[in-house]
Symmetry: D3
Subunit: 67 residues, 6 copies
């Protein structure tokens, strides 16, 4: 029954990688809290780098500097 | 003043259906809790099936099996 | 499979009212989008009036003025 | 370490405006709560006007009436 | 830089279990997407069973039936 | 009409500080995007330090080390 929301920057994450994240989080919740995988929901949000800020600036700016 | 966030998979939901959801939730909050419709906010997020997981796998995989 | 998050101020909402909201939203998603009620998740967050702002001020302040 | 999520309608917000929002919120959290800007995360979600409801109707409808 | 929000019912999860979840998710994001653990944020929300609905009813009701 | 969610650790933030955050964010959205303050909603979530992770560990652990 858990609901997990993973928010990451939109930088070419493949469907295979997303499937790995979903499986990994679902397994973790089963292992740590014995949560039923059948009702564990995982939603991945991919956010444009213009829309993600850290340290007071956008990730777009940071990427330009090679960070 | 309530804020409601509805998250669904992105599978061709028409603007008319979205309007129905928004109206329905707003009316429900008026009926059950007497919340003022004028300040009730409803936001619908449509999530790609690659990004939505349940039962440890993506909805894309489930749809391939006809589920 | 939808996930719905209802955020309201924490002002003595009874368990019966919460159950009504949950049932109402689940039925709405079934009626409008034919979503399976068995996997529809609804989470209600009750937020203290000090922590909810609208119009640039807290709901606590508004309630003091009788709004 | 704060996490701030700003949700607005998707109506041609420029990258420069987004950068201003991110900087402004980060500075506010430093000024008011002495939060370290280096670990303050700000995520902006732009939501289609069909998907945003207020007063029981979509913003698309309201915009048509010039509101 | 990812932000992960884990929402579970409030049913006596110990601090040690929470620490395991946080470590597990952070490691997963490092392994799958090479995300820097130092800026990965994980927030766990524990929700009262009266406030969590699935299948159109509260978890409180389900627990009463031994589910 | 914007909705802003500020998530911080629960470490004795006074009502006055919360009111400052709400006012500050509302003013920022007015100044940068000309958003109407009357319908700008700001919700502050205070999260226990056991439930907030960064760098793979809880904030509780970090606070113990004086960070």
């Amino acid at each position: 029954m858990p609901y997990v929301n993973i928010r990451i920057t939109n930088e070419k994450v493949t469907p295979a990688k997303k499937a790995q994240l979903i499986q990994g989080v679902t397994t973790l919740l089963k292992d740590v809290l014995d949560k039923n995988p059948n009702t564990t929901v995982v939603v991945i949000d991919e956010v444009e780098t213009d829309n993600w800020g850290i340290g007071g600036e956008t990730v777009t700016e940071r990427r330009k500097r090679g960070e």
